[in-house]
Amino acid sequence: MSTAPSHEALLHAYVDDQLAPTERAHFERYLVEHPLADERVASYRRQRELMRIAFDAVLHEPVPERIHVGRHRSRFAATWRAAAALAWIAFGGALGWLLRGEFATLPAQRAAETELVQRARMAHVIYTAENRRAVEVAASQEQDMIRWLSKRMNAAVRVPNLTEFGFQALGGRLLPGDHGPACQIMYQNAAGKRLTIYLARADGAARPVRFGDEDKVHVVFWSDGTLAFAVSGELSNDELARIAAAVARDSRTRG
């Protein structure tokens, strides 16, 4: 390690927000003069961000039945639980019949949606941080890019025009998805802020527009049956919703 141990400890404490305000200001001045240390701070923060994107979903998962705090349940409780379970099954059956098709695939669908949002957000964080290699194919070769992505995705991919929101397309890249290829199209505005559209193959059912869990990077997602869309950016939900509407409008003119 090139820096002195004290600087090393300070650097981590700075990344982890464990410095007092004066120490913090002091260290920020140090960072201005030490670009290598500054680069490490940025990289460690990105690591932390990626970890949260990768694992925070676990917090929202239902806790599996086999995990419980108490060990011993009385026989009465067990019987009662069995009865309650039967009642729920009966109720579920009735409800299922009433809502035929509507919510039948809910848990699987929710898992797929979490996966989509997570992958879109992860790809957003990773590639918007890149400078020279942000995209694989630049938007300057738009027709080439559209042909290439459409062929790989086996669906008509479009690059919606978002200039009315101040965003210009930078280009796109192909990504590995859970069910075949996925792709990302990146945009940037005059202030250097970036926005990404993530596309994956959908399961055939159209889904309404929804927002992902609260996070620094906001995600709005939906599916038109053929493609699942996720638009990500450090924008307000309002702004993002307007952009998503434009993307959805544009994709409906696909043909």
Partner: protein
């Protein structure tokens, strides 16, 4: 004495940490369940008014270390630094995969992975992390430093290798 509710509140975050630590849903939930059982058996030892969070993570650390130790005695796989670097190189050729934090974490030695996750993911203070893994704060800092630097090589390293591939 520790209330079931206080323990129950920590289950989501214990599951998140266990998932990141083991990289496997089943193994992670086993680890959580073993931790909860042991916590219950020892709840009389919990200091009243104490913080259940570091206490539970300490128990999980002990269960995890025992599991790793018994797994290591069954299998005689020795992962040295060179073979881990080779694995990292393999990942570097899989595009996005190398940037996949889960895989990069799996390549860290367990003692570094624990510290990186307790601090970065669970936001424990350095002092609490030291208590949880049972080492001095200085050791926590050096594990954190080595772990993060290694992750940086695995995740950001691809940027350096990618242009080389393109030249041929």
């Amino acid at each position: 004495m520790l209330s079931n509710a206080a323990v129950g509140d920590q289950i989501p975050s214990l599951r998140r940490y266990a998932r990141a630590l083991t990289g496997n849903r089943e193994a992670a939930d086993d680890l959580v369940q073993d931790t909860l059982e042991r916590a219950l058996a020892r709840s009389a030892l919990f200091r009243p008014g104490g913080n259940p969070r570091p206490w539970l993570f300490t128990i999980m650390h002990n269960v995890f270390v025992n599991q790793v130790r018994s797994a290591a005695s069954r299998r005689t796989v020795h992962l040295d630094l060179d073979s881990m670097d080779a694995a990292g190189q393999d990942l570097a050729h899989q595009g996005l995969a190398v940037r996949d934090i889960e895989r990069a974490l799996a390549l860290l030695p367990a003692e570094q992975r624990e510290v990186v996750l307790l601090v970065g993911l669970e936001a424990l203070s350095y002092a609490d992390t030291a208590k949880v893994v049972g080492v001095p704060v200085g050791t926590v800092m050096s594990r954190l430093s080595r772990g993060r630097e290694r992750l940086r090589g695995l995740i950001d390293g691809a940027q350096e290798t990618a242009p080389l591939k393109a030249i041929k």
